[in-house]
């Protein structure tokens, strides 16, 4: 209703009833206030990419954005000069992650370790904001399903010879709740309660492993940030019944952002890169040379809409 019409009605109402006058005035004031309503200021760039180091951050791809990412993990740094301190011995994990919407991301990934494929999805549940709505943290939910296609896996039959029911045992799952807060432009901290499940494990190991991730980012110069990430796996560190000793995965390194690319250089004690293996199969020991150098590279592409053609 146009304002002039309201004004006329207001004058007419004045002539008849005090209560009607009050109600009209309230409506008019409310409409004016709505136009001056405080916007919501969403926090941007808690992290500069969808990963902290090994694990996911709360960030996801925007609608129609594709993130092509290659993660490298080299050999142990105490392999000596002949093996170039591990650089000769590299495994990779490459992935495509796409924003279905601004708040839903799906990903497809393939890794060298156990020739694993995985399908993943990340949903934004809450976004840190100030203004009209104050939300102290950003929360995302991440899940993935992985499938190891290495022909010989543990003592299972060759994948080519086994039936679907047996090959189903090669699957693993991860669920993470990612909770992050950007405290300042320089500092973001994230907690990641995590549950991973492996359908089939060696004798003496556990199918279900729980962990709590603690990671963050500290930007100390423009475009370069110090990153760290630690997962405390309460039930799964120490020596398993089968004699293998597992450790909590820790990674520390640097994020370098250059335009559309993000590079990460870091050291970590975990060789595998898929979440269920990072949490449950980390055998490297920081105090015993079980340290690997890693290099992640990510490039974001924008996929144009068909309507623009």
């Amino acid at each position: 209703m146009k304002k002039i019409t309201k004004l006329i009605l207001l004058c007419l109402a004045l002539a008849f009833s005090n209560s009607i006058w009050a109600q009209e005035e309230d409506d008019l004031l409310a409409e004016l206030e709505g136009e001056l309503e405080e916007p919501i200021y969403y926090t941007a760039y808690s992290f500069k990419s969808t990963r902290i180091i090994n694990g996911h951050s709360i960030e996801r791809m925007q609608h129609r954005q594709l993130d092509f990412r290659i993660n490298h993990r080299f050999g142990q740094i105490n392999e000596g000069g002949y093996a170039l301190w591990g650089l000769d011995n590299a495994i990779i994990n490459f992935s495509f992650e796409y924003g279905l919407t601004d708040n839903i991301m799906i990903g497809l990934r393939r890794g060298t370790n156990k020739k694993v494929y995985d399908l993943s999805s990340k949903f934004t549940l809450l976004r840190q904001s100030t203004g009209r709505v104050t939300m102290p943290v950003s929360v995302s939910y991440y899940t993935n399903v992985s499938y190891k296609t290495q022909r010989g896996f543990l003592d299972l039959p060759d994948i080519r010879d086994a039936d679907f029911v047996t090959n189903r045992l090669r699957m693993g799952y991860a669920h993470q709740l990612l909770i992050a807060r950007k405290f300042t432009e320089a500092l973001t901290i994230q907690l990641s309660p995590t549950y991973v499940h492996r359908n089939y494990v060696a004798y003496g190991e556990q199918n279900d492993v729980y962990a709590l991730g603690f990671g963050g980012r500290y930007k100390f110069v423009n475009r370069v940030a110090f990153m760290w990430e630690y997962f405390y796996t309460s039930s799964h560190n120490g020596t398993a019944d089968n004699g293998v000793t597992y450790y909590n995965p820790l990674a520390i390194g640097f994020d370098i952002e250059t335009g559309g690319h993000v590079f990460q250089l870091f050291f970590t004690n975990t060789k595998p890169m898929v979440e269920d293996a990072v949490i449950a199969e980390t055998t490297g020991n920081w105090t015993d040379g079980g340290i690997y150098f890693g290099f992640n590279m990510s490039r974001v592409f924008a996929i144009p809409s068909k309507k623009h053609h």
Partner: protein, 128 residues
């Protein structure tokens, strides 16, 4: 922006199908006591071919030992990696069962395979 609901439903269906495959199983404890008459050509070499002698690892001309089809046996013997008098102390076997510094680097092989190597060494590490 609008995303077709059918795309979201397809993704959800994929995940639900995958989650439906969730199960809890554990392997049997390994008992290698009945393994004997291990052949290098038919039992050991397939292990090298599957997990060891690819590019970047132990192919011909790569990091020693050379575990290629042509040179594997000679390389292992020349580098003194097997000890037929104390098979469990053989460098080859000890390296393959070290879960903390795994070899292959992506994770040690299952006991069914490492035990084959042990039994092969115990039986004299022959080129059979």
């Amino acid at each position: 922006m609008k995303v077709k609901p059918i795309r979201i439903l397809t993704i959800c269906a994929l995940f639900l199908f995958a989650f439906a495959s969730c199960t809890w199983e554990e392997g049997e404890p390994f008992d290698g006591s009945d393994v004997s008459d291990v052949s290098y050509e038919f039992d050991i070499l397939p292990i090298w071919n599957e997990s060891c002698n690819m590019s970047g690892c132990h192919p011909s001309g790569g990091i020693p030992p050379d575990l290629s089809i042509e040179n594997g046996f000679e390389s292992i013997i020349a580098l003194d990696m097997v000890d037929t008098l104390a098979p469990e102390e053989s460098i080859l076997y000890k390296r393959m069962i070290d879960a903390q510094k795994p070899m292959p680097t992506t994770g040690i092989l299952p006991p069914s395979q490492t035990n084959l190597v042990l039994v092969w060494i115990t039986e004299g590490a022959k080129n059979n």
